[in-house]
């Protein structure tokens, strides 16, 4: 009994006096809320961090007296953590990466990489560092630097970094987290489709600007962008879209009709004597949300017209998009390679290193089947 008491006392004393513990008061931490990777004018890696200033969060003041709720600091370095070390030199509190919500990659960084290696090289830290959050959303900055996006002030949230995942959600896209990036990036072949953001020309505000295409076969270099409208269809094919509004405006319906649908997709990969063959079917069921045509979507006669013209118009967009991917970018942005991998694992071994070449000549057919179950709250057009 006595020895137990003495041991316990010694252990406690040892723990207290050696101060060998992990205790860090929250106000000893500089919480990194967003991180940015850029290449600066000199061609060096520049890491920017958006750091929350907690006093700005809790103060009740509004107006000019209100403290800023964040600061953006940048530093260059040989790699991520080296730059982090240099960042630390500007701060009185320890950098804390575990609450990072967003990773932004500047356009030049994405285009060039460093020393002819793509951004893949620098992203190791995000998974390797145990103090790093892999549930951050990752974005490519179109026409700009990550640093500048970090400095913009969003409308609702105090911080741009927490706002960006909300942007995707409100557009009906599943947020693209770093872990998804990782699982897309690790398999061989094809290309990545990452969300892109840009600064509005008027300045100060950000804008969702479609998707960036990064070629996995060329060390993850940026090869182009999809427009926002195209990105919805691309995400639909990839199964990342939760809600989408399809609008048809043509002579057949003599006006315009919008349908808000819950998308689903079905991709069939087959193999015959001529090689692989892909058929993409996009389904969508939803509600008519706007009708500026003389048609009455509640009647059986017009239902067919509306559905077919909507499907037709969306179908044209989809085939245009597929054509663009095959001919302009020559990159598999839809993740069809992964489906081939699953269905024909034997063939994939030969195909994986040059999958994009195979993809660009692949016969891909597509169709869109849109339906609505609810013609909306009124019958005829206003």
């Amino acid at each position: 009994m006595r020895t137990i008491k003495v041991t316990v006392c010694l252990l406690l004393l040892g723990a207290i006096t050696s101060s060998c513990w992990n205790l860090k008061e929250p106000n000893q931490l500089a919480m990194v809320i967003g991180g940015g990777l850029d290449i600066n004018q000199d061609g060096r890696l520049e890491v920017s961090s958006q750091i929350a200033i907690p006093a700005g969060f809790s103060s009740q003041e509004t107006g000019p007296g209100k403290k800023r709720s964040y600061a953006v600091v940048s530093a260059t370095g040989k790699d991520f953590m080296d730059a982090g070390q240099n960042l630390q030199a500007q701060l009185s509190r320890t950098l804390f990466y575990a609450h990072r919500q967003t990773i932004l990659i500047g356009e030049r960084m994405a285009e060039q990489g460093l020393a002819d290696q793509g951004i893949g090289k620098y992203l190791d830290m995000i998974v390797r560092n145990p103090k790093s959050e892999i549930k951050s959303v990752i974005w490519i900055v179109k026409d700009g630097m990550a640093k500048d996006i970090l400095k913009t002030e969003p409308l609702f949230d105090p911080l741009i970094s927490t706002a960006l995942s909300g942007v995707q959600l409100s557009l009906g896209i599943k947020p693209y987290y770093y872990r998804e990036f990782l699982s897309d990036y690790l398999p061989h072949g094809g290309a990545l489709l990452m969300p892109a953001v840009s600064i509005q020309p008027s300045g100060g505000k950000f804008n969702y600007s479609g998707a960036a295409i990064l070629n996995k076969e060329k060390s993850l270099k940026l090869i182009g962008y999809l427009k926002p409208e195209e990105s919805y269809y691309a995400n639909w094919i990839k199964g990342r879209q939760r809600m989408v509004t399809v609008t048809a405006a043509n002579d057949q319906i003599n006006g315009s009709i919008s349908l808000r649908v819950k998308p689903s997709r079905h991709i069939r990969v087959t193999k015959d004597s001529k090689g692989l063959r892909v058929h993409i079917v996009l389904h969508g069921t939803g509600t008519v949300v706007e009708n500026n045509s003389p048609l009455n979507p509640a009647t059986a006669k017009d239902l067919k017209t509306v559905q077919s013209s909507l499907s037709q118009e969306a179908g044209q967009e989809v085939s245009k998009l597929i054509q663009k991917a095959q001919q302009q970018y020559k990159a598999d942005i839809f993740g069809i390679g992964e489906l081939v991998h699953r269905k024909y694992p034997g063939d994939w071994k030969k195909l994986q290193d040059h999958w994009n070449d195979t993809f660009s000549t692949l016969p891909i057919t597509s169709e869109v089947q849109l339906k609505y179950e609810d013609p909306g709250q009124t019958n005829s057009s206003m």
């Binding site: 406690l12 723990a15 207290i16 513990w21 992990n22 205790l23 860090k24 008061e25 929250p26 106000n27 931490l29 919480m31 809320i33 929350a52 907690p54 006093a55 700005g56 969060f57 809790s58 103060s59 804390f96 575990a98 609450h99 919500q101 103090k131 959050e133 927490t162």
Partner: protein, 471 residues
């Protein structure tokens, strides 16, 4: 031994009761030269009864006539013929003194070598009131009183069977407190019954003022923060226990009745759990379980998460907490300790304060601890929330004394989590759990039916089953 001479006996009694100003010696001379001495404690007998049904007949009509012809007082004493329900003839002074002190009246007659004692005791007692510490929305409003006879009658009124046994013991050299062991014959296991009986008999103590004395003597593990014997002031709770085959110990002079054996889950059950609809009760039970856990763990979890593992707190919450902590001069652990001490102080003050200035505590407490300390920048606002939430939730536990271990063990857990974070907290919890599993009061595992698992009984712990399906 009592002799035949009244004068001698009186002398002996007077020397026993020397300097006892409340003992009354009343000499009477009846017709026929009979000499009679009454001895009683002033204020403990029913004077009305003694005057009207004992003294008056004796003085006016002489010796009462019984079945046969009585000539003298001595014969009256011989036949125990007084107008009282309980009468007894004793020959030893020790027994006589004790009974006098318990409120009986002693009749000593000339020429009689024994003393007749009649139970006419009556003294001021508190009436039956509502239970003050175990409130329930539904169910009997009667609570036990200090008078053991009142308490036993309350049980008798509920359980009407001769199988309800009440064994009486006297404990304490000075107080000779009556302790009654109540049980329903055939329900508790004989070994348990024997065990309790022997433990009560073995108590060697000067005085018993409260059932807590008995509790400490008969409990298995004194060095435990957890109560292992249930104490209640509600007759319905004791009756329920008796019907479940438990044994209860009533102690004279206290309204708190002990029920053995007790398990951990008994501490979290409210009296009206079995009176109200089973669905509400199940919900309430879970609220209680969660809040009990919450009151034990919340401050330590807060410390561990914010100072050791800030990555586990949702980012926006972490930012808010950090923002509110910007100006705090003390480390989080110290802050929580300070506030916990203040809270416990307020709680204790709330019990001890005279009723007239009771509201003062709440006002001053709320102002000092809540607002002023935060505004002055001594304490950060989240700590106030954490400590008061944990404090209040410990009062969700229906048995007040079962909240004590939760509040007390909070402090070691605070130290552990302040030193080692979640790791320390886990370590502390493991220690507490292994202690609980080791407890085995009166041969019943403390955590039963959870550990060891008894599926059938466990259902009654997880949710209160509908009465028709209760086994």
């Amino acid at each position: 031994m009592v002799g035949p001479h009244l004068g001698d006996n009186e002398q002996t009694l007077k020397s026993i009761f020397e300097h006892c100003s409340d003992i009354v010696f009343r000499r009477l001379s009846l017709r026929g030269d009979d000499k009679l001495l009454l001895v009683y404690v002033d204020g403990m007998i029913d004077k009305e009864l003694v005057q009207s049904s004992m003294l008056k007949p004796l003085l006016y009509h002489g010796v009462p006539q019984g079945l046969g012809v009585l000539d003298s007082l001595a014969q009256m004493c011989e036949q125990e013929l007084v107008a009282a329900l309980v009468a007894k003839k004793v020959t030893a002074f020790e027994e006589c003194t004790e009974l006098i002190l318990r409120g009986q009246i002693a009749f000593l007659a000339e020429g009689e070598a024994s003393i007749l004692l009649a139970d006419v005791s009556q003294f001021e007692t508190r009436s039956i009131e509502e239970p003050s510490n175990e409130a329930a929305l539904r169910g009997s409003r009667e609570s036990f009183t200090e008078q053991i006879r009142t308490n036993t009658t309350m049980l008798r009124r509920i359980i009407v069977t001769p199988d309800l046994k009440m064994e009486s013991f006297h404990v304490g050299k000075l107080t000779k407190t009556e302790v009654i062991l109540a049980y329903i014959e055939g329900l508790p296991s004989p070994t348990l019954l024997d065990e309790v009986r022997t433990r009560v008999k073995a108590i060697d103590i000067q005085g018993v003022l409260e059932s807590g004395y008995i509790e400490e003597y008969i409990e298995d593990t004194g060095y435990s923060p957890f109560p292992q014997i249930m104490s209640t002031e509600r007759a319905d709770v004791v009756s329920a226990g008796l019907m479940e085959g438990k044994i209860s110990l009533l102690v004279n002079g206290t309204p708190n009745v002990l029920v053995v054996p007790m398990t951990f889950w008994d501490g979290l059950q409210a009296p009206d759990d079995y009176y109200e609809r089973f669905m509400y009760v199940t919900m309430n039970r879970w609220i209680r379980y969660l809040f009990a856990l919450f009151s034990l763990l919340f401050p330590s979890i807060y410390i561990a998460l914010t100072t050791f593992h800030p990555e586990m707190v949702p980012p926006k919450l972490m930012l808010n907490i950090t923002g509110l902590r910007e100006q705090s001069p003390f480390p989080t652990v110290i802050e929580v300790f300070m506030m916990e001490f203040m809270f416990e102080g307020l709680r204790e003050a709330g019990i001890r304060l005279p009723q007239q200035i009771g509201p003062l505590v709440s006002i001053v407490g709320a102002l000092v601890i809540g607002q002023a300390a935060v505004e002055a920048g001594i304490i950060s606002a989240p700590i106030v929330i954490v400590v008061s939430a944990a404090g209040i939730s410990s009062f969700v536990i229906p048995r007040y004394r079962f909240g004590y271990p939760m509040r007390m063990l909070r402090f070691p857990l605070l130290v552990m989590s302040g030193l080692f974070g979640l790791f320390g907290l886990a370590l502390g919890l493991i220690l507490i759990l292994s202690h609980l599993i080791q407890l085995n009061p009166m041969g019943t595992p403390y955590l039963e039916p959870l550990a060891p698992t008894k599926k059938n009984k466990l259902r009654n712990v997880l949710w209160r089953r509908p009465r028709k399906r209760m086994s």
